[in-house]
Subunit: 483 residues, 4 copies
Amino acid sequence: MKFRTKEEYHADLRAMRPNVFKNGRFIEDIVTDPDTKTLIENESLTYELLQNPEHDAILKAKSTLSGETVARWHTLMTCPEDLMMYGKLKKLHFHHTGVCCAGVCTGWNTFNVLWSVTAEIDEKHGTDYHKRLEAWLRDVELKTYKIGGALTDAKGDRGKKAGQQVTPDVNLRVTEIRDDGIVVNGAKVMIANAAAFHEIICIPGTAYKENEKEFVISFAVPRDAKGLTLVQAEVKEGREGWDAMKYSTMASYLIFEDCFIPKEKVFMCGEWESSGVIISRFTANYRAAIGSCMSGNGDVMLGAAALMARANGLSANVFREKFVDMQMIGNLVYGLGLGAMLAGEKHPSGTFYADPTLAHTNKYYVATSYAELRRICEDVGGGIAETGCLPNYKDCTDPVMGPKIMKYVKGNSELSAETRARAARLSEWFTSGGGTMAFIHGGGSPDGARVVVRLNTPVDEYVKYAAGIAGITEKVEDPAPKK
Amino acid sequence: MKFRTKEEYHADLRAMRPNVFKNGRFIEDIVTDPDTKTLIENESLTYELLQNPEHDAILKAKSTLSGETVARWHTLMTCPEDLMMYGKLKKLHFHHTGVCCAGVCTGWNTFNVLWSVTAEIDEKHGTDYHKRLEAWLRDVELKTYKIGGALTDAKGDRGKKAGQQVTPDVNLRVTEIRDDGIVVNGAKVMIANAAAFHEIICIPGTAYKENEKEFVISFAVPRDAKGLTLVQAEVKEGREGWDAMKYSTMASYLIFEDCFIPKEKVFMCGEWESSGVIISRFTANYRAAIGSCMSGNGDVMLGAAALMARANGLSANVFREKFVDMQMIGNLVYGLGLGAMLAGEKHPSGTFYADPTLAHTNKYYVATSYAELRRICEDVGGGIAETGCLPNYKDCTDPVMGPKIMKYVKGNSELSAETRARAARLSEWFTSGGGTMAFIHGGGSPDGARVVVRLNTPVDEYVKYAAGIAGITEKVEDPAPKK
Amino acid sequence: MKFRTKEEYHADLRAMRPNVFKNGRFIEDIVTDPDTKTLIENESLTYELLQNPEHDAILKAKSTLSGETVARWHTLMTCPEDLMMYGKLKKLHFHHTGVCCAGVCTGWNTFNVLWSVTAEIDEKHGTDYHKRLEAWLRDVELKTYKIGGALTDAKGDRGKKAGQQVTPDVNLRVTEIRDDGIVVNGAKVMIANAAAFHEIICIPGTAYKENEKEFVISFAVPRDAKGLTLVQAEVKEGREGWDAMKYSTMASYLIFEDCFIPKEKVFMCGEWESSGVIISRFTANYRAAIGSCMSGNGDVMLGAAALMARANGLSANVFREKFVDMQMIGNLVYGLGLGAMLAGEKHPSGTFYADPTLAHTNKYYVATSYAELRRICEDVGGGIAETGCLPNYKDCTDPVMGPKIMKYVKGNSELSAETRARAARLSEWFTSGGGTMAFIHGGGSPDGARVVVRLNTPVDEYVKYAAGIAGITEKVEDPAPKK
Amino acid sequence: MKFRTKEEYHADLRAMRPNVFKNGRFIEDIVTDPDTKTLIENESLTYELLQNPEHDAILKAKSTLSGETVARWHTLMTCPEDLMMYGKLKKLHFHHTGVCCAGVCTGWNTFNVLWSVTAEIDEKHGTDYHKRLEAWLRDVELKTYKIGGALTDAKGDRGKKAGQQVTPDVNLRVTEIRDDGIVVNGAKVMIANAAAFHEIICIPGTAYKENEKEFVISFAVPRDAKGLTLVQAEVKEGREGWDAMKYSTMASYLIFEDCFIPKEKVFMCGEWESSGVIISRFTANYRAAIGSCMSGNGDVMLGAAALMARANGLSANVFREKFVDMQMIGNLVYGLGLGAMLAGEKHPSGTFYADPTLAHTNKYYVATSYAELRRICEDVGGGIAETGCLPNYKDCTDPVMGPKIMKYVKGNSELSAETRARAARLSEWFTSGGGTMAFIHGGGSPDGARVVVRLNTPVDEYVKYAAGIAGITEKVEDPAPKK
């Protein structure tokens, strides 16, 4: 199969309707605009890697639909090893960019979940969602598209249910069901890298009740569809020269205003009983593989720390144990995720889902140990890499003051002042800048993960074992809560 | 197949030569002697479970040798799922006993490693070790034997190599090679539960050099072989009534004095080049699965904590988050171990070995997080469960003082004083008594695990990634160490 | 002043009524009995140190009552520096014994609290408790007595209040008020080292309500008073040779049966409004100084770890960073306690009390970081120091088997086998034996400490600051809890 | 005394020579320029507080020089309680601004150290530095000046000593000694808030040897002195509307080019033997009090987290335990710092210095636990507060798109969209923006702190205690390092 190239991808983006908003205007050329070029550079990388046979084992696989060799991110995950490759692909991407590859990750996970869920819905309701999904997937697979998934609704007040909402559209909803499709209104928010996608698949963001059917919708939509506007979030980084990195992640608000979705791209509409299982399968695989992301991220943070150390004239050997600490954290979240995969279960429709308890455990550790990676990276780097300690690119390259500043940026280092400045910016970017990934809440919060683990902690069973070992024969029940 | 019963197992033990030494004498009836009965009770459990079809999925499997359904702990591990069942069996055992089942674990792991190593040696040296091993394994499989592995030599001074030893025998060695077998002298120390085994397989405890061939020996030996004496370690627990628990782990020194090993049970003799690979495969699988042990252990510690809380009149709900903390740790080490399995590799001989880096990472977390389980268990239990806070069984059941003491042990509790005392002893046993497992050094120290992770941290590769992201083109090498 | 000597102290103990029960009998000579001698050796140390001028700065001070130089543990604490010396004395003791010196610590803290509380009660109620206390204190100061404090009641069901108790005496109570004194019944439990005291001061163990006056009693009582029986708790340690250490801590149940307390030794009787303040002042100073105990303990655990490392042939340099980790923990709890002292407040009666919030914060860190000290000590020591790994003293010194065992205990070590065995036992004793101190619940549980910190966290005030910085002018109140 | 007002302070700044460089130009009006106004707002706060009698206990004190009531930050610290007030003043400032008040902190600490060091130098060398310092201090005290301290040299290659430097001026140095003063060249880098000071006192940044005399200089210099240029570091924060906070910390490079310092403001020149003691006293007090900064910072981060939670419709009660975790960390570093103060020592010259070991221990915990504060703050806030998740101020207030965006920023929240956006920005600012303080390396790195603790860990003494407890009589020495 011929795979889409980076150049073709850029041409696709340029051919799209300019519906991406940032800094007071709709962006004309998203590929080169200073506000988005690092994002596009980031999502372009997969196309570059596809052309490099060295990465074929990770990036390509046999399609379960066509039997052809296709981009792996369009194939179904059917066993633990498939899930592991999902993780490995993301880790590879993080190694090269330091940031998130939502364009291969989130869409992939989403259609893989819809695969089993549409099969279940069809069986129950006699619908034909599964066939639609398959047709759509065969198409994007052929085109080597970038596809993303969109889950998160605006909510705002976490204490309120969707049914209680005063502001309409706070959860994305269907406002009209027509013979040829549906009309949707509302928003999906904080959708990573959405501006760089060809298409986006929306799924319900929570488990809904029967009276909340209007929010239970799933569909694919082109990024530049009529009625869809993307607003870019602010990314904290300098814009000029070495104050910015080569790649970035950039989230969008997707605002739907009477956006029409043709029937063949609608995969759910009102089947509220299936909204819960979507979330649980989505999070199981997502949270099993998120450790691969963070471990890839940790590896480059380790590289950034070592780079800074060298620019400070110090050998990696000095920080040996700190590097092991970083690697241990990376291994933890990578390996624990793989464990969730091995302990997973195969669905009759052919797809495979990681074990939820271990996957949520992994999310918990991802969320709680990321801070350590940032801390150690900053610790190794020294004061120069701490935020607010270095003059900016503009001043460092000022014709008059620049040389005076750079004299002291270099100091006694054997490396150039520019290298030292770039290294410092990189560490700062990872520890408190645009390179900080949303590992705490991305894919769900650690508190949510704890709840899943709590529900899977059979205290009474454990008490029974303990009593047996201690030779206790009296019945020991949980006392009623004291007043 | 007919599986050995607990009663048959006890008869086996009683028929053995009394070569187990403890408290100044050789133990007559190891099954009932107060110094060993909890150990035998512990290792008997697997025989009980074998008779209960509820556990068949875990405890039985199809033999790769005979094709029969056999006790799983005699089968080869040939894929990640087999390794996972190795872990699950150990977790099941820990659930019921709170302690280590070395009699199913260590032997199993040992012959599984020898399977591939003997195949390699035979191919290289034209020996027939592999065939001997297979014959031996077919035999123990048929007999449903308890077999253990023995690795650790006495060493003493960790700074000295085996070749430098002043005291002879500090590493177990062959002292005579005969046509019909070999004669060995020396010791293997701290061998968990050895007194309860039918046979023990010894393997080299470290990677040896060419001039250290005498230490490179592997063989199986009956527990009561002539020339072999077992000395039992001291286990810190009360001996009477509820001061002791129902089960225990008990390590032995195995002292070999001119012990003859017939040829057909010798699996290695001098092939020093293979000693390193033994250690690395043994530790890979062992450290991948040790998380299953600790997670099973953690589950019952959680049960013990909940039991004590109830005896203190408090609902588990009060300690909800602490229980989640305990479960998180258990899930971490269980799941990370599974991850090492999934990332493992198949050997041409048919066996499967976990990924060393992830396995050692797991050992590191096992070693460092076990203390947290103990701490939380003690924290939930309250002062009564802390060591040195409760009068002993003898005094609590004293005809005169007993009732006076038990009045205050009970206090206002709605449970009996005895239940409260037993619960307190159980928590104390887990947190600072005989129920404390050697998770820090068992299967190797955390420092050793860190070394493996360090050797698998490609700093230069990571620096290259980092430099690419920051746009650094200057070559950035590690500076020579400063004087 | 002439200070009591160790020999005089032993004579005092021998002259007492044998009311200490252990292992089915009342102990005849508490000084030499194998069940108690390590306890007495422990509490004797302060008398030895008193005779050594090197320690005068810590052990002696000018009495606030007589103006004489007296044992410091009989003086009032009147400023932060006095509190610091309270901590330093305890640290010194831990350095030499590894265990708790309740006989100088708990009584001292108790009368120091009663000093201000009795003054307040007298002012309110016209009683003369303060004068009685002063007279008693002048007396024990003169005699250089060992005095202890006793706080903890039996409770049993933590969910029940004293007033709800079904079993009488679960909280110690007055059962008769006579002109010449009071009669008390009930128990104080888990009183560290009580068998080694001359006198014990009891105080209420919680804040009582008006209808619970009977439990609000404070008094001093000789250890061998009529109507008082001590039951010794079980301490987990071998009894023979090097299986036991030289010193130990040993808690007692104090059982009062119609025990008469003469009027002049009664310091509170029914003044329920003052029971709360006793607890809060007692815990403030106790928890400020408990870090001194744990830091002294940590120092010798560090020493034990280094000792074991040397016996394993390894230089302290190998474990340098682990030792710093241990020392960091020790410094944390020592220093944070001193901080609580500096932030404390002077009472009009002349005594000084540490800041409760910082003191409870310290208790929290003591309770949660002690596990780390144990873990690192075990980690450094290697397998030989883990519990259940070494044969016992009896077997190691067996005429026949002893030499065979000791050959392997020594291994290649350049030190003697005995030193290696003693070192291993010491580490084991600290990490999971009789040397494990009750730092989690001793002086109150970490959960209790967290509650105090929570009550001292002014969230609304902090929100106000935050809103000011962010320029938020809208009123932001805590939402009502969601149903 | 009449204290300088905020308005007078601003007038002072405006009267200065425009030697502050940022974004390609020298700033004209530092008070109102968008690049510096938040910095000036920050340093102005102390002047506002001085006018508010509510804060007199903290902000004012009796001068040790004039006996007048003066701004506390011009008084000498003569006892633990004075040091505690140093901490309290900084905590108060952090409460109101969330950022660092270098203008009261660093100068204060610097002259307090010079007070004792100049006294020692004068005694040794017959110089009159102490008198000069006193005269200068009397003057700034009268004027209620903002004074800063400057310590850090450019270095660059941490492996090289000052004497080995190739690039001249990498350490600030004297290039000419004249009768009326000295001429200096070089730089001090990363000097927090320097642009907001009236005067800056430079001191040597490390311990120098005899052949490095040229670097051993200390002097006070007006911020706008001829020959001195300040280059402002880049601070990562949005510049417009609510993307920026009200206050900021901003570090400068101070570049000295033939800058003349008149004799009466020179406090050291070549007395290399005293350079070490400067560093150790400076760091002792600085690191004892830095916990006060971080605890004040933590308090407002807690407030920011609670604010965000409320904007998300959630009660603080939901996050109760997380808030206690944050407060525990704040209490730890505040209290441990106070402990270092109590354990400090008085210098004959009258000033008081904290205990170095405890102070460095505190710095270590500050550096390692700050990441936890950031993590919990981000955890409580939810996805909206994570970096890169929210559109910027410009877009949120865009006439067309603004309302569409703000509809979803508000969601169901009962608070306004603006409040929710401001709250999110505040949390982001603290966790990965301009509100991230340099607590890891500010005042020295945690590794440096560990070295101090290591040098103060008497392993041999601890081994001696341990051996005594275990009854070991054999001499146990550290083995020579193995080859």
